[in-house]
């Protein structure tokens, strides 16, 4: 019947998505990763961290403290009064952010109420984030596809790599073996794997010292369950088929379970100190981008 709610959209990758990602990214101010999470890495970034550290830009004068290297004393300033001052530079450092978007068959789902498929939206978000981060001078990588790249054109390179890379479609979680301690990991997925599996993987990643952000992509049909009547449901991943005489009777129970899953995920992330963002494919990609950006900037209110 032509009235089907859900459909499987063709897989998207490459320059089209990159163009849209650029559009989104252009709307976002330069991204600043909260400094406290930055690893002790020597790689310099272009942006100041609003605290003293190694960098070129003047940050503050502070009184000299015993034990500090005499070479740091700013004599010109100290000559003005009786105290001895040290000139501090603003700490400018780069951070490694790994971005990964789920590419499993379930992500190709697109309902009539959604604008794009989940996969398309996930890629757009991933590349837009890459663009933003790369502009800020961060090192960005895609686990399993690229290493962490420190380049203004990281988004292009990742997009190119994605086009040629052979991605294991059954991979429901990025491999974290190349990710170093204290890096940032952004996972964009629909998290439809069994919840226990997901939680175990999150724990494993957290134990590695990774700080993560989950962007949960949800199709509106998956949340509202607009099905009714006699319906046969098919799982695009496992091929499992279920037929129900009156699908509308399931709506209540399904919604409860779905919300419970999401709640579990959110709670777990809170416990790990990770960020968790839900994004619906019927809203604009930039809303998720802004949300992700504010979370990563650490602007959560005290």
């Amino acid at each position: 019947m032509a009235l089907n709610i859900g459909s499987v959209a063709p897989s998207e990758s490459g320059s089209g998505v990159l163009g849209r990602a650029r559009e989104r990214a252009a709307l976002i101010p330069d991204l600043l990763i909260e400094a406290q999470r930055i690893a002790n890495t020597v790689t310099s970034g272009w942006h100041g961290r609003r605290r003293r550290g190694s960098g070129d830009t003047f940050w503050q004068f502070r009184p000299y403290q015993l034990g500090e290297s005499l070479t740091r004393i700013d004599w010109r300033r100290s000559a003005r009064d009786d105290h001895v001052y040290v000139r501090d530079q603003e700490w400018e450092a780069a951070h490694t952010v790994w971005i990964w978007a789920d590419n499993s068959p379930s992500m190709l789902f697109k309902s009539t109420t959604a604008q794009v498929s989940k996969q398309s939206r996930a890629l757009v978000l991933a590349l837009a984030m890459t663009e933003v981060l790369a502009k800020s001078g961060e090192r960005v990588g895609w686990p399993g596809v690229t290493n962490a790249l420190s380049s203004r054109v990281a988004a292009e390179r990742i997009a190119a790599e994605l086009m040629v890379a052979k991605i294991d479609e059954d991979l429901a979680f990025p491999s974290t073996q190349n990710i170093r301690n204290r890096s940032e990991l952004i996972i964009i997925s629909d998290f439809l794997e069994p919840i226990d599996t997901t939680l175990t993987r999150l724990n494993a990643a957290a134990e590695q010292g990774i700080h993560g952000s989950l962007v949960h992509i949800v199709d509106p049909a998956e949340e509202n369950f607009p099905y009714s009547g006699r319906t046969e449901f098919e799982d695009p991943e496992s091929g499992q088929k279920l037929t129900y005489g009156r699908a509308e009777t399931l709506a209540q129970g399904y919604a409860t379970l779905f919300q419970a899953r999401r709640e579990t995920l959110a709670q777990h992330c809170k416990r790990l100190g990770w960020n968790y963002i839900v994004h619906h494919t019927d809203s604009l990609a930039s809303t998720a981008l802004v949300a992700l950006h504010t979370r990563l900037s650490g602007e959560a209110m005290a």
Binding site: I5, P29, E234, Q240, L242, A247, L257, F258, R295, M301
Partner: protein, 943 residues
């Protein structure tokens, strides 16, 4: 094959009904196909309901529906016929069909003919000779048998006649008849008509083998039996046959050209035979009515034609003296108006002055003017009166002392002797004279001469050659009592006595009323009757009396009422109507009901001019072995199309049900249907005032809270709300003020008075607020409220710059209807910079925009000219372009909704501080600036 009234043309097909159980079994086995949906979280679905339910069979009602559909189709194919005509007239030998074609037969004429045709068809099958007797022919009916084809041709040519039926002639003919009819069918109209008993008697005498009696339904047969023009209304007497249930109808009045003028509904109670319907209309309109007929009756009895007799004439009365008013019961006008009132409309002049009264009454279009004892007419009035008479007016004058004393009165029909005479007095020799019988020429002809009328005084006419011609009534001694003469088109009539009882007792007699009625009738028909005569009689003899040759008046048929109650042109067999004879004209086959005369002047002949006395024919009068039947409609009702239509309907239902079960309907149709329903509901119930639907709660006003204006842009409204929530949280944590949760207000409906500060993000979406809403905002501002406008366009222009963004343009539109005082960017020493925090910038999401406030008042004198007062020293308007709510907005988890530009966390803190300062400023006013003076105040108090 027939069951009750149901007949099947192909009954064998009904046997296929036994396959229904098979269909049932098949239907139960085939469930509807499910809709196939890709659904990634099917795993979750499996957790919801592990047991997958697959109904192996359709629901029972769907099966029932389909079975019913199949059964309907089978039954339809068997071609059932409801009420098939099965009344057969059997036997051999000649058949007599007596067919009523009188006035009642219009409504069921088709059925009547069909029945007759059925009978003829049966006669043809049995090769019986047939005689057809139409009842309106009466004694002229031909009883010789004919071949069926000839009779059929006659039957086809027959139409219902608008005539009453007299069966005596037919009964007589039947008695004389020699043919032995073995079968007789009487297609009666069911009424007890004239001669019905004789007919039945002769039928019984003939003793046919079979007598079939058909009757029509009488319950909807209504007739108009009489129309009377009463002073108040045109009253229509309606009648119907006895013993009928309650029914109702509507009488419509049409004018000469067939346009409907008015209508009145009536209803018969059960068993009631007569009622009267009143058509209450102005006289002018009533006089326009030419035809009254009952709607949807299709028969001649329901139509009444009106002619001049039914017109109500307007008669004007003028009396000679106002002394008449002293004894109103003796006043001449009293007698005249009492006599005229029943059949005409009497107008009395309110003006005492005759010279005024005459033009006034002529103005009122009176057709007759009665002057009671008026002697000399003022010159102007006399001329006017003469002109009016010449133009066709009827002037009736009564004698009296003044008239008798008058000289040179031209407006009298005959020359009068001065003084007059009195009879029966002490000094007179004559005895009071009674009336002589009326001349044939006189319009009073035919009235009974009252024997007890005696005239004691009168004015006398000068004898002349034409005196007899001008005399309409005279006394037994030959002296004229009423004289008349024609002037131009009109008439002047003079009663040689007074209109009251002082000169004669004529006004006390019934003859007076009749005479006046005739005169008024002459007045209305004066021109008409003349024309009638001149058009019908070849040589008008110029006689002054209009009815001189009444016997000879023959009126040609003008428009005829046919058997269906409609007006038609006269047929070739119709004869002119003879009027004026001793007997009233009757409705016959030559002179059917209708109008006769010319279109200007005609006489109406109606089927009923009095009670119709409709009675049902008592059925016990019929011979005992009579077969009674009703008229058959065409071939009975074939049920096949209806059954097939019902099956199709069920098929459509089935489709809908299948769609519904597949879930397609719910999603596709329901929103549209719901929209349609809501639209209908919305149309039926006027939209409730939005204040009722808005969540305005009086309890909310008990705590201070921030408010924002709802723009209709959902995104923007959400940011406004989240922003004010963020600001409220900040204020609660940093200051002693703890505002309640902020609210969104609709400036069109909500009461604004409870909110100290209104945050108004300017949106280009939707229309700008109308003048009424702006008046509310104006009132809000003048009563001390503050509005913070936020154009949010610092990046694209900003308020106060040269560049005009769309939001700024919109803000200008909004403010154009407000009286805005001069504005300035917040000066350094303004209270806003120190209301809570010390601030020198007022950022929101953007940094650069300035905050504009009312220019601080320099001196008191200026304030009077300011349209918007600075309530309590607080600027009633603040304008920013920094998108403050965007900076304040926080999500439920405490994270900010939007980033600030540039991405400087401190800027957000400053935005909150700005918010606190603005709120403190609006709440405390110039309190902070007053604090500056505290040392000075304390110093004074210390003194």
């Amino acid at each position: 094959m027939s069951i009750l009234a149901l007949t099947f043309a192909a009954p064998l097909i009904l046997f296929s009904l036994i396959v229904l159980p098979l269909i049932w079994w098949l239907l139960r086995l085939t469930p509807p196909r499910p809709r196939q949906e890709v659904f990634p979280p099917t795993r979750i679905l499996a957790e919801v309901n592990k047991s997958e339910e697959t109904p192996a069979q359709s629901p029972w009602w769907l099966t029932l529906l389909r079975l019913l559909m199949a059964a309907l189709v089978i039954v339809a194919l068997a071609e059932p016929i409801w009420n098939a005509q099965d009344s057969r007239i059997s036997g051999e030998g000649p058949l007599l069909i007596i067919m009523d074609d009188g006035w009642t037969t219009g409504p069921d004429w088709e059925e009547r003919q069909t029945t007759a045709r059925n009978l003829l068809a049966q006669a043809r099958e049995n090769e019986r000779p047939v005689a057809l007797a139409l009842t309106t022919l009466g004694g002229k009916v031909e009883l010789a048998t004919q071949r069926v084809e000839q009779v059929e041709a006659r039957l086809k040519a027959a139409t219902p006649q608008p005539l009453p039926v007299d069966l005596t002639g037919l009964a007589k003919r039947l008695d004389e008849n020699t043919i032995a009819f073995t079968g007789i069918a009487w297609l009666s109209n069911g009424l007890d008509q004239k001669g019905a008993e004789q007919l039945l008697a002769s039928l019984e005498k003939m003793a046919p083998q079979q007598l079939q009696y058909f009757t029509s339904q009488l319950q909807n047969l209504h007739v108009i039996s009489k129309v009377t023009n009463t002073p108040e209304a045109l009253s229509v007497a309606l009648e119907r046959a006895d013993g009928q249930p309650a029914s109702s109808g509507r009488v419509t009045a049409y004018d000469q050209k067939g346009r409907s003028i008015s209508a009145v509904d009536y209803s018969f109670a059960a068993d009631k035979q007569t009622i009267t319907a009143q058509l209450v209309l102005p006289v002018e309109l009533r006089n326009e009515i030419a035809k009254l007929s009952i709607d949807a009756q299709n028969q001649a009895g329901a139509t009444q034609l009106l002619d001049e007799r039914f017109r109500r004439r307007r008669v004007g009365l003028i009396s000679g003296s106002n002394a008449d008013q002293a004894q109103p019961l003796l006043s001449p006008l009293y007698f005249i108006s009492r006599a005229l009132n029943p059949f005409s409309e009497v107008r009395e002049s309110r003006a005492a002055n005759v010279a005024e009264a005459i033009p006034q009454l002529i103005e009122e279009n009176v057709s007759t003017l009665v002057l009671a004892d008026i002697g000399t007419l003022p010159g102007v009035a006399s001329e006017q009166l003469e002109d009016w008479v010449e133009a066709g007016g009827m002037l009736v004058r009564f004698a009296g002392p003044r008239l008798a004393a008058a000289t040179d009165d031209t407006l009298v029909p005959v020359e009068l002797r001065r003084g007059g005479r009195s009879l029966g007095g002490t000094l007179t020799w004559g005895t009071p004279q009674p009336l002589a019988s009326f001349d044939e020429d006189s319009p009073f002809n035919g009235l009974t001469v009252p024997p007890d009328v005696a005239v004691t005084r009168q004015v006398l006419a000068q004898p002349g050659i034409d005196l007899t011609e001008k005399t309409w009534a005279s006394l037994t001694d030959g002296t004229p009592l009423v004289t008349a003469s024609q002037r131009g088109e009109g008439w002047i009539v003079l009663f040689h006595v007074t209109a009251n009882a002082s000169w004669s007792n004529l006004p006390l007699s019934g003859a007076f009323v009749d005479m006046l009625r005739r005169i008024v009738a002459v007045s209305n028909g004066a021109i008409a009757a003349d024309k009638t005569r001149s058009s019908t009689a070849s040589a008008p003899d110029g006689s002054p009396t209009i009815t001189a040759d009444a016997d000879q008046i023959t009126l040609p048929p003008l428009r005829m009422v046919d058997g269906f109650g409609t007006l038609t042109a006269p047929g070739p067999t119709m004869q002119p109507l003879l009027l004026g004879g001793s007997t009233a004209p009757e409705v016959t086959i030559e002179t059917p009901p209708g109008t006769y005369g010319t279109s200007d002047a005609f006489v109406a002949l109606n089927l009923f001019e009095g009670p119709a006395n409709l009675k049902q024919l008592p059925t016990d009068l019929l011979p005992a072995d009579t077969i009674r039947s009703r008229f058959s409609t065409e071939e009975g009702t074939a049920l096949k199309p209806w059954l097939l239509a019902a099956a199709l309907l069920l098929l459509a239902l089935d489709c809908l049900a299948v769609l519904w079960m597949a879930g397609a309907l719910r999603r596709r149709v329901m929103p549209a249907a719901a929209a349609a329903v809501s639209l209908v509901v919305f149309a039926l119930h006027p939209p409730p005032v939005q204040a009722q639907t808005s969540n305005f709660n009086f309890e909310d006003t008990l705590r201070t809270r921030l408010a924002y204006v709802q723009t209709g842009d959902d995104q923007l409204d959400r940011i406004s709300k989240r922003g004010l929530i963020g600001l409220t949280n900040f204020i609660s944590s940093r200051t002693s003020l703890e505002p309640a949760e902020p609210v969104g207000v609709d400036i069109n409906t909500d009461e604004l008075a409870f909110y100290p500060l209104l945050y108004w993000p300017v949106s280009t979406l939707g229309p700008p607020p109308d003048a009424k809403a702006m008046a509310r905002v104006d009132a809000f501002m003048k009563k001390g409220g503050s509005v913070l406008f936020d154009t949010r366009d610092q990046l694209t222009g900003g308020f106060g710059n040269r560049r005009i963004s769309a939001e700024t343009q919109r803000l200008r539109e909004i403010l154009s209807s407000l009286d805005i005082p001069p504005l300035e960017p917040v000066p350094d020493n303004h209270v806003l910079t120190r209301a809570f925090y010390l601030l020198n910038v007022f950022p929101g999401r953007y940094l650069e925009g300035k905050l504009w406030v009312e220019t601080s008042q320099e001196d008191e004198g200026e304030s009077a000219e300011r349209p918007t007062r600075q309530g309590d020293g607080v600027s009633s308007i603040m304008i920013t372009s920094n998108d403050m709510a965007g900076a304040w907005a926080v999500e439920a988890d405490g994270s900010p909704s939007l980033p600030v530009v540039p991405a400087n966390p401190t800027q957000r803190i400053y935005a909150y501080r700005t918010g606190v300062n603005i709120v403190m400023y609006t709440l405390t006013g110039n309190y902070k600036s007053d604090q500056v003076h505290i040392p000075a105040l304390l110093e004074r108090l210390g003194q």
